[in-house]
Structure formats: structure tokens, C-alpha cells
């Protein structure tokens, strides 16, 4: 599904440049649930941004579902993001003047899906994350865990090939964290490919594979026995 060869990325900070990713080789098969771990400054967010086409790579190749991702202009990148990727952010990033249903329906709107169909689909995904009855609430009326679940529903609404989650539990307490992870695991069980960036050991162990980044290189890439989040959730 994801194929990365020899990826380099550096940032210019004034006169000196900061080499963040120093040759990453990395691939993900369909249906995997991968945790990308590392301390801050290890380059894990940069990697995720490049995977998410939010940032450009300096060197190397990246292909997603067989499509080479290179030389994208903004319009094309937007189109690919819309078709291929779903994003879940640490700070939820819901649009605060739109209610839950409208937020979920947003990617579908960019796909020019008709209004009726959009609403039906949005409600279906809200149902899946258990927030059907919160559909017409604004983000400010939802708790953190609920917001993240709306965000996950939004990421899933466009039926992306890969779901990218950047510290999805970073702003949540451990109980809601487990609820969110439970949801992510269930989505993965349905066959969706998911990448989770995290620095928490227990969250990482709820994935099926852990990639350790340190100082811009992959330190370790191992399959793990998945811990089900279900058992922590009542």
C-alpha cells in the first residue's frame, strides 16, 4: 500500500539546515495497523506529513497504492489527499462553526457528493463511532473523546486507502484514549490500513507493528502481539 525508498528531508532554519529524515525505507501492506514511535525531534511527524502529502520530500520515492507521489501541484495534492487519505489530529481540528454531521460530511463535499447522500453517509459514520444522536451538536458541545471520534468518522467518511493519525490520544485521558484506540482497532479489523504516530508505549502496543524512529532513521521495525483496547473499556 505504502512504499517509501530512501527518503530524505531537511528544513532550512536560517543559515543552517536541519536534516530531519536521513534515508527512510519503509513499506506498509494493506490492512496493517502500524505505530510510528519516537521521541520528539525524531522525525515521526515529518514522516507522517510527507505520507499525508502535507509536506514535500527532498529525496527518495514515495508511492501510494501504486501511484507515484511526486511533483504534485497543490490542486493535485488536494485531490489525492481527498481520495487516498484520512487524517486524525491530536487537536481534533474540527471546524468549530459546523456541527458534527457537517464536519463528517466535509470530505464528501469536496468530492462533490450530493447533499442528501452526503448527510446519509455522514450519519452512517457517526453511527459507527456511536455519536449518531450528537449529529447536530457543535464541537464546543462535545467532550474531547467525542470530538476525536467525530474526527475519526470524518477521516473515514471519504473511504480512504490509508488512515493517518497524528497522536490521536495525545490530548485525551487514558480512559478516553483506550476508547479511541478501541475504535481504531475496530476500523482496522474491517480491513483498513492505519498509521498511528504516538510516543506512548501502551498505545503503540495496541497496534500490530511498531516502527521506532530516532534521529531521522528507523531504529527498529517489529511486529508485536496486539493488545486489545476493548478490555480497558467498559
Amino acid at each position: 500500500m505504502i512504499e517509501i525508498r530512501d527518503l530524505h528531508k531537511s528544513y532550512k532554519m536560517g543559515s543552517n539546515s536541519l536534516h530531519v529524515l536521513k534515508g527512510i525505507n519503509f513499506s506498509v501492506q494493506e490492512g496493517e495497523l502500524v505505530a510510528i514511535m519516537g521521541s520528539s525531534g525524531s522525525g515521526k511527524s515529518t514522516l507522517l506529513n510527507i505520507l499525508g502529502m502535507l509536506d514535500e520530500l527532498d529525496e527518495g520515492t514515495y508511492s501510494l497504492d501504486g501511484v507515484p507521489i511526486a511533483n504534485l501541484n497543490e490542486t493535485k495534492a488536494a485531490n489525492y489527499r481527498n481520495k487516498f487519505l484520512g487524517f486524525v489530529f491530536q487537536s481534533f481540528n474540527l471546524i468549530n462553526y459546523k456541527n458534527a454531521m457537517e464536519n463528517v460530511a466535509l470530505p464528501l463535499y469536496y468530492q462533490r457528493v450530493g447533499r442528501k447522500e452526503r448527510q446519509e453517509k455522514a450519519l452512517k459514520y457517526l453511527e459507527q463511532v456511536g455519536l449518531r444522536e450528537w449529529a447536530d451538536h457543535l464541537p464546543s458541545e462535545l467532550s474531547g473523546g467525542q470530538k476525536q471520534r467525530v474526527a475519526i468518522a470524518r477521516a473515514m467518511a471519504a473511504e480512504p486507502k490509508v488512515l493517518l493519525a497524528d497522536e490521536p490520544t495525545g490530548a485525551l485521558d487514558s480512559k478516553t484514549s483506550y476508547e479511541v484506540m478501541d475504535l481504531i482497532q475496530k476500523i482496522n479489523d474491517d480491513g483498513n490500513t492505519i498509521l498511528v504516530v504516538t510516543h506512548e508505549e501502551d498505545i503503540a502496543h495496541m497496534c500490530k507493528r511498531i516502527v521506532h524512529l530516532k534521529d531521522g532513521v528507523i531504529l527498529e521495525d517489529k511486529k508485536v502481539e496486539q493488545v486489545r483496547a476493548q478490555q480497558y473499556v467498559q
Binding site: 499525508g52 485531490n79 481540528n93 462553526y97
Partner: protein, 419 residues
């Protein structure tokens, strides 16, 4: 562009900060209001002046004799001379594109002696010997009877057409005018009609105190022979009298043995030139109206642009989220432009409406207090309203252009990082 969600969003964005939106809109509102008021005031002024011209044929010049100032062909300078009836024919023949050439002789003048008698009443009036087409050059309404015609000219009939002002002075109220006789310098004329002049060249009173008699009868009755004192010459539509007047005067100079360069020998008044001057004055007033109005509007537009920049700044993160979700940059740009155009047009419409209301109120006031000198019926045409809307449209686009560009210049990743 015309989709419900997009408009809903625009309304949501604009209504989140009501006070700011209203203040911003006020700039544009004010600009367009001033534009409308200035233009309508200019128009009112123009209407007020134009009504003085009435429907007088403006493509007309008047020509009269003065004394020569140059010796020519053995004739001395300082010589008095008269136009002759032959000159009229010569002008008609030699100068193309003339519509009317009306010769005229005249008795009396402003504040002249009493020259008209009827029974025990007397009065001092201008008495003109004229041709029938004169009514086309200086339009008047025949209030009873008829005007002169060519039978009168050919038969040298001694008939007269009186102004309403003359009638008022020489007749009792309700007295029958048509068929009565008046004596002009001792010669009796039969009254066949009365008129009222539409134009009032600054003095409406004088214009109504004129008596028209056939040119030929005038010449005979008052012993003018072939002399012509004065001519009114109108050019055909499409050619201006200003460009033809040199030719006309050349014909007269050649016929009257006047030095070709003796410009002061022939007096003339070019109504077309005068009219053109007035026209260009109103052109200038309209220009100033547009100029000032658009400048004021411009400051309003800059206000909109400014606010849109702030809105974009505030929404940087939201724009980042949208782009991460796959909204194309063009869609975002379109959204910002649409917001700006919408805000501009709505506030502009409000300005136009209030301007129209203002004009309506002024008109109602003018109606109730009666006519005011040099100001009549201020108004703006549909053309002005349409061009104002076009200006608004364009300026809305301009106002949104920079903010829209700045909205998509930020990389989505940077936009997402903004807190």
C-alpha cells in the same frame, strides 16, 4: 458557485462577528451612497439648467448686422449696412446642410416705447416679422388660433400672433382675442392666434410679450423694403452650425461687399457652441461626481480587503484543515472572493437603496415647496445604477483578491500548525 452549502458558510462567516461586518460594510455603503447623491445632484442641476433651454433647436445660430471695421472695394469703414432678402436665398443655395434660414425684422426692444395700441390700452412689445418655420427653431405652444403660414407670407397678410403676456395687457379677462384688431405703429393687424413659449432664457416674462407677424407684411407695413435685420439659421441634424457658420458669413460678406476678414461686421450668437459649453460643464460635473464617489468607495473597498485579510488570518487553521481534507486551493480562493463580493454587493445595494430613498425625499420636498432655481428633479438613471453595481462587483473581486491569494499561499502543513 450557486450551492447552498457554500452560501450557508458565507453567511456563517459573516455573521460570526456582526459588528465588524457591519462596520466594514459601512465603508462601501457610504462610498456608493455618496456616489449616487453626487451624481443625482449633478443631474438635478443639469435638469434645472436644461429646462431653461426648453426644446429650442440648439443647433442654431443668430446673426445680425453691425458696422464694418475695414475698408473694402472703395467703401469706408464704419459703414452701416443691412442684410437683404436675396442673402437668405443665397445662403440657402450656397451652404449645404442647413435646415432653416429664417430672416426677421424687428420693432421695439427691451423697455422700448409704447408701440402697440388697442382701444384705450397701449403697450411696448417686441414685434417680429418672421417666417413660419421660426416656430420650429424656438418652439412655442399655440394656445389658441394658429401660427403664421406661407399663405400669409405670400399674400402679405396683416395678421398677428400674440404672446400670452401681450394678451394679458391688452385684453380684459375672458375677452375674445381671435378676430380682434391691434394697431402696431399705426397699422392695424388682425389677431389670428396666441402662443406661450416653452423656453425661458432667463426671463420668462419677456418671452411671452412678443408679437409675430408675417415677414413680408412687416416689411411692407413698416417700410423695410428688402432689408433683413436678423437671421436665425438652423443646421440639419448631424452637422453642427458651429462648423457651418463661417461659410454662412462668407456668403453674406461677399454679397454685402464686406472685407472677408472683417469679423466684427457680422454679429452672431452661436447657440450650439453655448449649449456645447453648458454640456461640457455637466460632463465635468458628472466626472467629478464619479471621481469623488469612486475615491470614497475605494476607501471602503480597502476596508473590505483589510477585513478579509484578517478573516483569512483568523481562519488559517481552518483553511489548513480543509486543505488536509482535500479542498482544492481554487475552491478556497473562490470562497474568499465570493465572501468579499457578497459583502461588497450587499452593502452597495444598501447604499443604492438609501440613495434612491434620499433622491425620492428631495424630489418630494421640491414638489411641495415649488420649483427652485437651477435645480430640478435630481435623479440617477438605470445606467448609473448598473454601472455602480459593476463597479461594486469588480471592486469586491479586487478586495478579495489579495486575501484569497494569501489564504492559499500558506502551506497546509504550516496552516495546521497555527494555533
Amino acid at each position: 458557485m450557486f450551492n447552498k452549502d457554500r452560501w450557508k458558510e458565507i453567511l456563517e462567516v459573516l455573521t460570526t462577528n456582526w459588528f465588524r461586518t457591519v462596520l466594514t460594510a459601512f465603508g462601501v455603503f457610504w462610498g456608493i451612497l455618496i456616489l449616487i447623491i453626487l451624481l443625482s445632484a449633478g443631474k438635478g442641476f443639469q435638469n434645472g439648467i436644461m429646462v431653461d433651454f426648453g426644446d429650442i433647436a440648439t443647433n442654431t445660430m443668430f446673426m445680425w448686422t453691425q458696422t464694418t471695421t475695414k475698408e473694402y472695394k472703395g467703401l469706408p469703414k464704419g459703414r452701416r449696412y443691412n442684410f437683404k432678402v436675396e442673402d437668405v436665398a443665397a445662403i440657402k443655395e450656397q451652404v449645404p446642410n442647413l435646415r432653416f434660414v429664417s430672416p426677421r425684422n424687428q420693432l421695439g426692444g427691451f423697455g422700448g416705447n409704447n408701440n402697440v395700441v388697442r382701444g384705450i390700452r397701449t403697450g411696448a412689445f417686441n414685434v417680429y416679422g418672421d417666417y413660419p418655420e421660426y416656430i420650429e427653431q424656438d418652439p412655442m405652444t399655440i394656445t389658441s388660433g394658429r401660427f403664421l403660414n406661407y399663405n400669409d407670407i405670400n399674400d402679405k397678410r396683416k395678421i398677428a400672433v400674440l404672446g400670452e403676456g401681450v394678451k394679458k395687457e391688452l385684453y380684459e379677462k375672458g375677452e375674445e382675442v381671435i378676430g380682434s384688431y391691434i394697431k402696431i405703429q399705426g397699422v392695424s393687424f388682425l389677431v389670428v392666434g396666441t402662443y406661450k413659449k416653452n423656453s425661458n432664457n432667463g426671463d420668462g416674462e419677456e418671452g411671452q410679450k412678443e408679437i409675430f407677424v408675417p415677414f413680408t407684411a412687416f416689411s411692407q407695413a413698416f417700410n423695410r423694403g428688402n432689408d433683413v435685420g436678423w437671421m436665425a439659421i438652423t443646421a440639419k441634424d448631424g452637422s453642427s452650425i458651429t462648423s457651418l457658420k463661417e461659410k454662412v458669413m462668407d456668403v453674406v460678406k461677399a454679397n454685402r461687399k464686406i472685407h472677408p476678414e472683417d469679423d466684427r461686421a457680422v454679429g452672431h450668437f452661436d447657440l450650439y457652441e453655448e449649449f456645447g459649453r453648458v454640456q461640457s460643464l455637466f460632463g465635468a460635473i458628472t466626472f467629478i461626481g464619479y471621481f469623488v464617489g469612486i475615491l470614497v468607495l475605494l476607501s471602503g473597498i480597502i476596508g473590505v480587503s483589510n477585513i478579509m485579510l484578517i478573516v483569512v488570518k483568523e481562519r488559517t487553521k481552518e483553511i489548513g484543515i480543509r486543505r488536509a481534507l482535500g479542498e482544492s486551493p481554487w475552491s478556497i480562493k473562490g470562497q474568499i472572493l465570493l465572501e468579499s463580493v457578497f459583502l461588497t454587493i450587499i452593502s452597495g445595494m444598501a447604499g443604492i437603496s438609501l440613495g434612491a430613498l434620499f433622491i425620492y425625499a428631495v424630489n418630494a420636498l421640491l414638489d411641495s415647496v415649488g420649483p427652485v432655481d437651477m435645480f430640478l428633479n435630481p435623479s440617477v438613471s438605470l445606467g448609473v445604477v448598473v454601472s455602480a453595481l459593476v463597479i461594486l462587483m469588480v471592486s469586491g473581486l479586487l478586495a478579495g483578491f489579495i486575501p484569497a491569494n494569501s489564504a492559499i499561499k500558506v502551506k497546509p502543513i504550516d496552516a495546521l500548525r497555527t494555533e
